[in-house]
Symmetry: C2
Subunit: 247 residues, 2 copies
């Protein structure tokens, strides 16, 4: 199995992944939101590039059938139902509704990966569940970290390392690119200390400074969500039954 | 001190570093060549973008006054005196001569960093000597890894981590970007095992497959060269006296 990790959405743009399974990671916070919303019963999550596109898309939908969510510079958007905190996507808000989500980095990474044969969204909440479905495809893998404002994001990279480890084990594999090797090593270093990691990183520090430190605690949980969000026709749908009993 | 690491030349292009000290790293092999050539008495090293530019630049120079060196896809260039193996830059070849060097990744990274207030080239051979001169500038720092064909290169990143560690110590500093934190951690993991690291990485494996494995052994040496190559007017000159006694 060939496995390549890309550090940012931009670094993957223009690449073709037709024969690959792709995993997109934006731990803080888009892919944590996606896992949580689907786990809490959302019908699907539609990622769109701009707030205007979100409003436009939902204009003719029945009023109670959807949730507009997202952020710009980590802050909620005027006129939207929810921001980009996964803790806002409660069962009573997300259950039975479609979520239209616009975020800065996560959406861009999903769009960069959409040529892939299969495309999944992962966060610490569901990384091992996603890895199992990725392995089941039998395909070579590409992992695209969303990054933060176009830059390397250590939290996303460590989560990518968890997926690499889940897919390859700790053994040396010659078919990993350099960032896949590094990501697996970095996950090894930060295993069990994800909260400390988040406080060490730019994006985590920024969320804390905005009073969103509780999101770090939430997003640092490993394997609490069984749902595997899979890309299907421009939206993310639960690939597994979210009502299945939890491990 | 603010310290940012960039993963590739491309990621730094378009940025301005006017108030910063910049360090460019291309361990395999441009910045190892530059350190070695200057240590062996080269007058300066002029990095140029293309082989044609190299030939053109030296056209009117006295025949015995210069050395044309470089590579494309790691292989020597037709009509050039030397390739891109630092072991070719012996005192009898490099001594007293100007070196015109054209390499794929290293030149691009140097050009991306040329807006910096001070600009240095580092490899494992001279990383701590370079770090001392960087610290002496008293400026915020940017480290630009050349990367390999536009991608994250683990060897360059680990060398960046050595520079970060030399500049900051092991303590947590809030003014490191995420890649600076990661690089320092990765250097900690690979300290004393640089040869194994190189064999694990794409670029090292490629050089081995081309029969250039001895270059890995050479480039994995730490602090064997006292010379600090400093950018001055489009070329790299020895910032310290290369005839000074070695540590």
């Amino acid at each position: 199995m060939r496995l390549d990790v890309y550090p940012t959405a931009a670094s993957a743009e223009g690449e073709r992944f037709d024969s690959r399974a792709a995993v997109v990671i934006d731990v803080l916070r888009a892919t944590s939101v996606i896992a949580t919303a689907l786990d809490h019963g959302a019908v699907d999550v539609v990622p769109v590039a701009t707030p205007e596109e979100a409003t436009e898309l939902a204009r003719d939908w029945p009023q109670d059938s959807y949730l507009l969510g997202g952020e710009r510079q980590a802050l909620p958007l005027p006129g939207f139902h929810v921001g980009n905190s996964p803790r806002e996507y409660t069962p009573d808000r997300a259950g039975g509704r479609r979520v239209v989500l616009t975020t800065t980095n996560g959406t861009r990474a999903l769009l960069a990966a959409r040529s892939a044969a299969s495309l999944f969204a992962a966060s610490f909440l569901n990384a091992r569940a996603v890895s199992r479905e990725v392995a089941a495809t039998g395909r070579d893998v590409v992992i695209i970290c969303a990054g933060t404002v176009g830059r390397f994001d250590l939290v996303d990279t460590v989560c990518a390392g968890l997926v690499v480890e889940a897919l390859t084990g700790p053994a040396v594999a010659s078919e990993l690119n350099d960032l896949a090797v590094a990501a697996r090593e970095l996950y090894g270093l930060h295993r069990g200390k994800l909260i400390e990691l988040m406080h060490q990183c730019y994006h985590g520090q920024r969320l804390v400074s905005l009073g969103m430190g509780d999101d770090l605690v939430y997003c640092a949980q490993e394997d609490t969500v069984p749902v595997v969000p899979r890309w299907s026709d421009g939206r993310l749908v639960p690939s597994t039954d979210p009502t299945a009993p939890r491990a």
